[in-house]
């Protein structure tokens, strides 16, 4: 048993463990921006540099600087808190934490068989195979006599073959249109009987087909280097061979989602990325879905004719209420029935449109949720009450908001002492919203509380914005200007992050806003929506 006390090393391994063992790939997406090993490497180098400089300043070190080699030795001695364990590759334990990543079999928790027993198994199978094969070695037999030769190799009379019809030609004629031909190129990803190549088997449920076809999954074996899109193509190829009566669409119309053993697709997770290799995913049960079901349902709305001309859809409408027996009910166009029909048509169309929009919104929300925590920077204008607006780079990430002035040569004299770098911890950001749109420019505001954990390096001049105060918390804000699309994206991103984290600062601000809106019901202020 071993104990590990290096926090950095432990953190790195925990992060790697999450990424390696997560079959859905979401851990990787979330943690992609934080390459701890690199961060710690950089920090380690900086620390070393600092220590080295500090030591160099001490007297009596000039002797060490003579030889280049000794300099390196000297550096090697410096071990910072950011170092992983030394010689980790030569560790006696042979990556003890690595073995814990080994996934167990689906049923039961027995550990995987050791390499030796697997190797012995393979050997045994190879021997069994070889035993079934008849081996004939060349034997130099005694030379055959002439008589023997004449007997063994008689000359056969050669007759020119008569013209024959080919069975293949006939088969070709009978099978002109083959459904699997569009997927032929995916045939090469077949993993069956491939020696020396890693293969991966999947059970694919054809969830886009009708119920009766969904019950039994298609077992597919592909080479491990095949991508998800190749797996989709090969699945279509194999399925259309086995079921030529069912027509499948283009490979681009389909996606693969994680599914349960019984074929139930997990709609919560997005489709597997088509460009990722199959070997990356641990899930063996997948569902083939039509991509358009995940997007908005694009059925066209029922044509809405002009009022009063709905009759061409419902020819009998002109006869509505007509009765041979009751002449008073002739020609009642504009009757209640036709009105009801028109309003029903309208309702259906609106519902379709709103469900389209709802689906679109859902997709966009989903995309926003996954992309929001990732660092992104935008070039916007920072608005100032007293001075001219300055171009800044607004960097937004899961833990901070950075405002970095972009100094152009023109303004170098005017603005070098004016523009300052702002860094706000996300914990201190309370609000973000669009203020107004004027022509092509949109103004938006980020509200923060300087009294919270805040590393801002702002000078006193910058903090002259009027603040809102509620009880003990003072709120300040930065106003920015940008084009509409960027502003919208920034506001959505910040709000997604703020909602995710839901810091105390944000909660307090929300409470204070509510109270204000209650007390200022009669006012229409620019700042509060």
């Amino acid at each position: 048993m071993a104990t590990y006390d290096n926090k950095i090393w432990l953190l790195k391994n925990i992060r790697d463990a999450f990424i390696a063992t997560d079959d859905t790939g979401l851990c990787e997406i979330v943690m992609a921006g934080e390459d701890f090993s690199k961060i710690f490497q950089i920090k380690g180098l900086e620390e070393k540099k600092r220590i080295k400089e500090a030591r160099a300043l001490q007297p009596g070190t000039s002797k060490i600087r003579e030889g280049g080699d000794s300099c390196e030795d000297f550096e090697r001695e410096i071990i910072t808190q950011f170092e992983p364990y030394p010689d980790i590759d030569e560790s006696e334990d042979e990556d003890p934490l690595g073995s814990s990543y080994v996934r167990y079999e689906e049923f039961g928790g027995y550990r995987q068989r050791s390499n030796t027993s697997q190797w012995l198994d393979k050997k045994e199978q190879a021997l069994k195979k070889a035993a079934k094969i008849k081996v004939i070695k060349w034997e130099d037999s005694s030379p055959l006599s002439k008589e023997q030769c004449m007997e063994l190799f008689p000359t056969v009379e050669v007759k020119p073959p008569e013209k024959q019809k080919s069975l293949l030609a006939q088969q070709l004629e009978n099978c002109p249109d083959l459904p699997h031909r569009q997927y032929l190129e995916y045939g090469k990803f077949d993993g069956t009987a491939q020696l020396g190549l890693q293969t991966k088997c999947f059970k694919i449920f054809m969830t886009m087909l009708s119920e009766k076809h969904q019950n039994y999954p298609l077992v597919v074996c592909v080479i491990a280097s095949a991508k998800i899109k190749d797996l989709i193509g090969f699945t279509c190829y194999k399925y259309s061979i086995e079921h030529p009566e069912i027509s499948l669409g283009s490979v681009h119309e389909y996606g693969l989602c994680i599914a349960e053993d019984d074929g139930e697709v997990d709609w919560a997770f997005p489709c597997l990325d088509a460009n990722e290799p199959c070997s990356k995913f641990g899930f063996t049960c997948l569902g083939l879905i039509e991509l358009k079901n995940k997007k908005s349902f694009n059925s066209p709305p029922i044509p809405m004719p002009d009022d009063g001309h709905v009759f061409h859809l419902f020819p009998k409408m002109t006869d509505s209420g007509q009765s041979h027996n009751n002449p008073s009910r002739h020609n009642t166009g504009g009757s209640q029935t036709s009105e009801a029909v028109i309003s029903a048509l309208r309702a259906v169309n609106e519902e379709k449109k709103s469900s389209e929009d709802a689906n679109l919104e859902k997709i966009q929300c989903h995309i926003m949720a996954t992309e929001a925590p990732q660092y992104k920077s935008y070039k916007v204008q920072l608005l100032r009450k007293v001075r001219t607006n300055t171009s800044v780079q607004l960097g937004i990430s899961l833990d901070r908001i950075e405002i970095e002035p972009l100094v152009t040569h023109k303004h170098v004299f005017w603005s070098n002492s004016r523009s300052k770098y702002f860094l706000h911890s996300i914990e201190s950001v309370a609000w973000c919203q669009i203020l107004e749109t004027r022509g092509y420019r949109t103004t938006f505001r980020i509200v923060y509380s300087p009294s919270q954990k805040n590393n801002s390096v702002s000078d006193k001049n910058a903090s002259e914005h009027a603040g809102y105060s509620h009880l003990h918390t003072t709120y300040k804000y930065h106003d920015f200007e940008s084009d509409h699309e960027t502003a919208k994206e920034i506001v959505e991103k910040v709000n997604t992050i703020l909602d995710l984290l839901n810091s105390s600062c944000r909660r307090e601000y929300k409470i204070s806003k509510e109270k204000k809106s209650q007390t200022r019901r009669s006012f229409h202020t620019k700042h509060l929506s």
Binding site: I136, F153, L167
Partner: protein, 315 residues
């Protein structure tokens, strides 16, 4: 039909087999393009494939010839012929499947006869001075043409063990030899892209030079006569298969495809209307000769296809 995917093959069915560098031999349902079965050919590439009259397929590889049973679902060979020091370049069968003949880099051509009784065994060996690239049995079953790397074609009379030598082009390695099913013509291609044709007449058949075709600008690989003897196909490293009319040696068709690379092997259908080609782009293809169009592509090999064999059935 396409849905009828029997993994094994009876004697009455059409068989297309391909092999190459990916250590597999694939059996295809020729009319649909579907791979029916994949057989394993470990440790070496496949230099040559031939389907025997008894529906076995022989694969010539490095230091061995492996025999697979097409009518079973067994992915492994049933028989292995061993004890060969180097690559076996070509394999063929006697008309009735009684014996098998090979040629190899060990400068020999051999007749293999695995029959039990030693008395009836007709195992023979023919030694030449250079690696053997091509061996072809005359339809009269008593002569084998042996082409070697030094450019010599040996006509090995199996009855008398005598041999005649032809040198169409000095120092140009013979890559393949073909004899038409009527036994009237012999063709050979070499690594300069040249094709030489002889007429064979008399008993024993005696070759008389007939034609020299500058078939390809690069390495020629295979040559074969059509079953009706009206056409000769030559394949080459220039990425094409060319079909020549035997009556006047005019070029009938040049079969090319953008993605097609070296065409290593070819085979005609029984009615001489279609041609299979196997290429190092890992695709085998079926061409309609009359139209020059591509009918089918066989996609499944991971690496180059270097050998192809086709057995048709008469209707």
């Amino acid at each position: 039909m396409a849905g009828d995917t029997t993994a094994s093959l009876g004697g009455s069915q059409v068989a297309l087999v391909t092999g190459g560098y990916d250590h597999t031999i694939k059996l295809w349902q020729a009319h649909s393009g579907v791979c029916l079965r994949t057989m394993q050919h470990p440790d070496s590439q496949v230099n040559s494939l031939e389907i025997s009259p008894t529906s076995m397929v022989a694969a010539a590889g490095f230091q061995h010839i492996r025999l697979y049973d097409l009518s079973s679902a067994n992915p492994d060979p049933v028989t292995t012929f061993e004890d060969i020091s180097k690559n076996v370049s070509r394999v063929g069968f006697q008309k009735n499947g009684t014996w098998m003949y090979t040629g190899g880099e060990d400068c020999t051509a051999r007749i293999w006869d695995p029959r039990a009784a030693p008395r009836t065994r007709c195992q023979k060996i023919f030694q030449v001075q250079a690696p053997v690239n091509a061996v072809m049995l005359h339809p009269d079953q008593s002569q084998i043409m042996v082409g070697d790397q030094s450019g010599i074609i040996h006509i090995w009379d199996l009855k008398t063990d005598q041999n005649e030598q032809l040198i169409p082009e000095a120092e140009a390695s013979i890559q393949d030899i073909a004899i038409d099913p009527a036994g009237k013509m012999m063709a050979a291609v070499n690594n300069k892209g040249n094709c030489y044709v002889w007429s064979l007449s008399g008993q024993p058949p005696h070759p008389v030079p007939k034609k020299h075709i500058t078939a390809h600008s690069k390495y020629a690989l295979r040559c074969k006569f059509s079953p009706d003897s009206t056409m000769l196909v030559t394949t080459s490293g220039d990425c094409s298969a060319k079909i020549w009319r035997t009556s006047d040696w005019a070029l009938l068709r040049e079969l090319r495809r953008d993605t097609q690379r070296w065409v290593w092997d070819a085979a005609f259908t029984l009615d001489s209307r279609f041609l299979f080609t196997g290429s190092s782009d890992s695709y085998a293809r079926l061409w309609n000769i009359e139209r020059g169009t591509l009918e089918r592509e066989y996609c499944g090999h991971q690496k180059a296809i270097t050998a192809l064999a086709f057995k048709d059935q008469p209707v």
